[in-house]
Amino acid sequence: MHADLLAGTPSEPVLLGSECRECGTVTFPRQSACPRCTSTDVTERRLARRGTLWSWTIQRFRPKSPPYTGPEAFEPYGVGYVELPGEVRVEARLTESDPAKLEIGMEMELTLVPDAPFAFKPVT
């Protein structure tokens, strides 16, 4: 697991974010200052593992390398922002790439995948 981004276990990974002690703002990944109130009094926060899909798209062409390091044989993949309630909206690869199976508002859960440090999958 990517130690800067994740904690927990492979079967129950957790994203590591920051929380501002002054204004409560949550960010991901961890950062040393608050983007809202500029305070440097921030602490690590383990983010919720479940949230709802805020928006999404399907990446249908292979991104250029660098920076992309995925397989040469390209398969389209889903990308979205998942809103962790009351915390933050996190951008991530999605395990689902069929547009018919993605809908704003659907419930998503953090998981690990081969081609990215983390991803979200629909909760079935």
């Binding site: 928006s55 798209t57 249908r60 991104p63 992309y68 933050v88 081609d115």
Partner: protein, 380 residues
């Protein structure tokens, strides 16, 4: 008023692909054309600013234009490069530090999507390695949510693109000059849902230069007044490209803030605008920027665009030169291309694409990574 700042010269190098012509050569071509248009020589310019994202330092054009000792500031500010050069010159003129200024923006990008490196944007390498460092994804996700919230149809996205190519066909300096119907746009392949191939602009090449002047010098041939030029970066809560996370509470976008300030400084409202140039890196951007700039309400775009109001003969013509969709996106040149087009329209010199109605007030808005926006208000 003697404090007025006016655009008195326009120069452009055609957009598109120009093998064997460097970005700096295109910049010098545009600069010469702008000087000719203003009826001035290079040694009469007492301030210059300009830049490109990927095609070199603007000030090296002096070796071609002439070594006159002019103070020349290089700008490298992403998609706001042209806008930043413009506000720099505007501020120098307003401050009385110069009387006649030249601004130039140019670029030359290889084919295909941009491939920025996350490390240069303050993001971990994992972000690019896992295929998230894509401007196209951001645009797609922003319009995907906007369509759901404000009932914008796929047909409206296609009509924006179709209009751009219709206008591009009338513009001799445009790259894409073949009209495409709404059906042809909708038949192109899906790239980043809900955006299709012909709904995206492509990185390209081109250059634009403007001559600005103040006071007595601003009274030349057909001056168009630059009433305001405002540049803003993002605030907390704005949804921007290259964001590994965004706050759960929505904030005001840099475009909304820059547009409001530009209108306020000009003492002119969005309802007075006769012609507008909005950043249309893809169809969705034009739709959303219409509302962010205050030119319409959220959701009103569906009716506006379906009714043809944003076409050249409509109530609010938008991107009359074909925008980024038909001209491509040479990053450093785009913001100044918008001003170039609005000045042409306000002069009544836009040829086949001249808007039929009154052309007294024009507006431009350029937007880019990682959340910058520059807006101008221009009047006759």
């Amino acid at each position: 008023m003697s404090d007025d700042v006016a655009v008195i010269g326009l120069g452009i190098h055609p957009f598109g692909r120009h093998p064997g012509v460097s970005g700096l050569e295109m910049a010098a071509h545009a600069a010469r054309a702008a000087l000719d248009d203003a009826g001035l020589r290079w040694d009469q310019i007492d301030f210059a600013a300009g830049g490109s994202d990927a095609a070199g330092n603007a000030d090296t054009t002096v070796s071609v234009l002439g070594l006159t000792g002019v103070p020349f500031i290089n700008v490298k500010n992403g998609c706001a490069t042209g806008g930043s050069a413009l506000i720099t010159a505007h501020a120098m003129l307003c401050a009385g530090s110069a009387d006649v200024a030249l601004v130039v923006g140019f670029d030359k990008h290889p084919p295909g999507a941009f491939n920025p490196l996350p490390e240069e944007w303050g993001i971990g390498s994992w972000y690019g390695e896992s295929g998230l460092m894509m401007t196209t994804q951001f645009f797609a996700m922003k319009i995907q949510r906007y369509m759901a919230q404000h009932s914008i149809s796929e047909s409206t996205l296609a009509k924006v693109a179709s209009k751009a190519f219709e206008n591009g066909a009338l513009n001799p300096n445009a790259w894409r000059r073949q009209p495409l119907s709404e059906d042809e746009v909708l038949a192109s392949k899906m790239v980043n849902d809900p955006l299709r191939q012909y709904m995206f602009c492509s990185p390209g090449e081109g250059a634009v230069a403007l001559v600005l002047a103040r006071g007595e010098k601003a009274r030349g041939r057909r001056p168009v007044l630059l009433r305001s030029a405002v540049f803003k970066t993002r605030r907390f809560g704005s949804f921007e490209v290259f964001s590994p996370s965004i706050p759960v509470h929505d904030g005001v976008s840099p475009t909304a803030e820059a547009a409001a300030a530009a209108f306020e400084q000009a003492g002119i409202g969005p309802g007075d605008v006769d012609v507008a140039q909005l950043q249309d890196t893809e169809s969705g951007a034009e739709v959303m920027h219409l509302a962010e700039t205050g030119l319409c309400e959220d959701g009103e775009q569906e009716q506006l665009i379906q009714s043809g109001a944003t076409r050249i003969g409509g109530r609010l013509p938008v991107n009359t030169d074909g925008g980024c969709l038909a001209n491509g996106e040479p990053i450093g040149a785009s913001g100044l291309r918008q001003v170039h087009e609005v000045v042409l329209q306000l002069r009544g010199e836009a040829g086949e694409r001249q808007i039929p109605g009154p052309a007294r007030v024009g507006f431009t808005q350029v937007y880019g990574a990682p959340g910058v926006s520059a807006c101008t208000v221009l009047t006759t």
